[in-house]
Symmetry: C2
Subunit: 199 residues, 2 copies
C-alpha cells in the first residue's frame, strides 16, 4: 500500500533493535509530517558514522580519530585504567563524575553460553597496553557484578597477575536509596563482606 | 564523551517520537556494531523520502507520483470512498481485505483541544472530489469511534448532505473475540442499537 520509498524506510527502521513494524511506521510517518531537516540530519548522521568511526587505538572506545578524547586529555590520570564491558558502562561512570583516570572497553564479557570467548574481547589489547606502562599502575575491573562479569574480571585478574600492578574490583553492595529489607541475600552478603571503615 | 558524529546520530534518533536518550544510544550502538549496509540503507531511505514523496492528488494518501496505486487501480470501485483519519487507518482497512473501494485520508480529526480545525484537514479536498463525481456514490465515514472522530464524521456528514450521496458510518460494537461481560456500556449500547438482521 505504501509507496516503495516509504516501505523501504519502514523496513530499514524495523531493523533497529526492539523496533517492530508498527513503531517503524510511526517513525516514518513522523518524519514525513515533520520538517524535512529532521530526516536529513538523521540521514547525514548515519552517513558520517559510515565514514569516520573507529575504535580508539588505546582504550577501544568509539572515536573519530586515532585516540579518543579521554586518552588525549592531559588532565586524566593515564596510570589508572578502568576496565568496562561496554561503551555505555564508560558513559555511566563518566556521568558519576567520580573518576579521573582512563578506560579500557572490552566490548563484551566472556560468556560460553553466547559463544563469546576471551579472544572476542579486547583483552589482548589491554595486556599489550599494560606492558608498555611503567611505574605505579592501577587496573580497576569494572565489569558488571553478574556471573559473566565476575568471571571476566577474574580471568583478566589472573592474566594481569604476573605484572606488577594494583588490581582492584568495583564495590558491590546495596545501591544508594535502596532498602535493606528488599535487597537480595547475595548483594547483602557482599555488602557486609565489603564493609569499609569510616575515615 | 562520544565522538561528535556519534553524538549527532544519537541526538537525531532522540528526535523520533517515543525515543529517549537511552534508546537513541542503543540504536546508534547497534548500527555501529552491525554491518554498515544497515546504516547506509536507512540513510538512503531517509534521503529518498526527502525527494519524491507527495500526497495523492485524489485521496491524499502518501504517494510517489500524482496518483496513488489505489486511485489508479481499475479494479477498485471509484464510486465508494472510505474517509479515514490517518494513513495507518487506511493500511488497517486494506489488511482486512474486505474493502474494494477507494479512500480519502483526512490527515487528522477535528479537535478544538489540540487546535485542529476543519481547515487543517483534507475536508475541502473531499468536497471538491465529490463535486466532480456523478451517479451513485457512497461515502463511508470511517473516522475513529472516539468523541473527536464522531464529531468529525458528523461535521463531514452535514457538509455532504446537500449532495445526492449515500453517506454511511462504520459499525461500532463488540470486537470479534471479545467478552460481552467486559465490554464498556457505551460500546454495548451501540452494539445493541446497531443490531442487524440475519440475511
Amino acid at each position: 500500500m505504501f509507496p516503495p520509498s516509504i516501505q523501504k524506510l519502514i523496513d530499514s527502521f524495523a531493523k533497529l533493535p526492539g523496533v517492530g513494524k508498527k513503531t517503524a511506521q510511526h517513525y516514518a510517518y513522523f518524519l514525513l509530517r515533520s520538517h524535512r531537516t529532521i530526516a536529513r540530519d538523521l540521514s547525514d548522521a548515519l552517513r558520517s558514522i559510515e565514514q569516520g568511526i573507529t575504535l580508539c587505538r588505546q582504550c577501544q572506545m568509539l572515536c573519530d580519530g586515532a585516540l579518543c578524547g579521554t586518552c588525549m586529555n592531559p588532565k586524566r590520570d593515564q596510570r589508572t585504567i578502568c576496565v568496562v564491558e561496554q561503551i555505555f558502562d564508560l558513559e555511566a561512570i563518566e556521568k558519576s563524575k567520580e573518576y579521573t583516570g582512563v578506560y579500557h572497553v572490552l566490548h563484551g564479557r566472556i560468556s560460553p553460553l553466547d559463544k563469546i570467548a576471551p579472544e572476542d574481547l579486547k583483552i589482548k589489547e589491554l595486556i599489550d597496553r599494560v606492558k608498555k606502562l611503567s611505574g605505579e599502575i592501577e587496573i580497576i575491573l569494572a565489569t558488571n557484578p553478574s556471573n559473566e562479569g565476575e568471571a571476566t574480571a577474574i580471568y583478566i585478574q589472573k592474566l594481569l597477575a604476573p605484572f606488577n600492578l594494583k588490581i582492584t574490583r568495583i564495590a558491590t553492595g546495596i545501591p544508594v536509596g535502596a532498602d535493606l529489607e528488599y535487597a537480595d541475600e547475595v548483594t547483602l552478603g557482599r555488602a557486609i563482606k565489603g564493609r569499609q571503615k569510616y575515615d
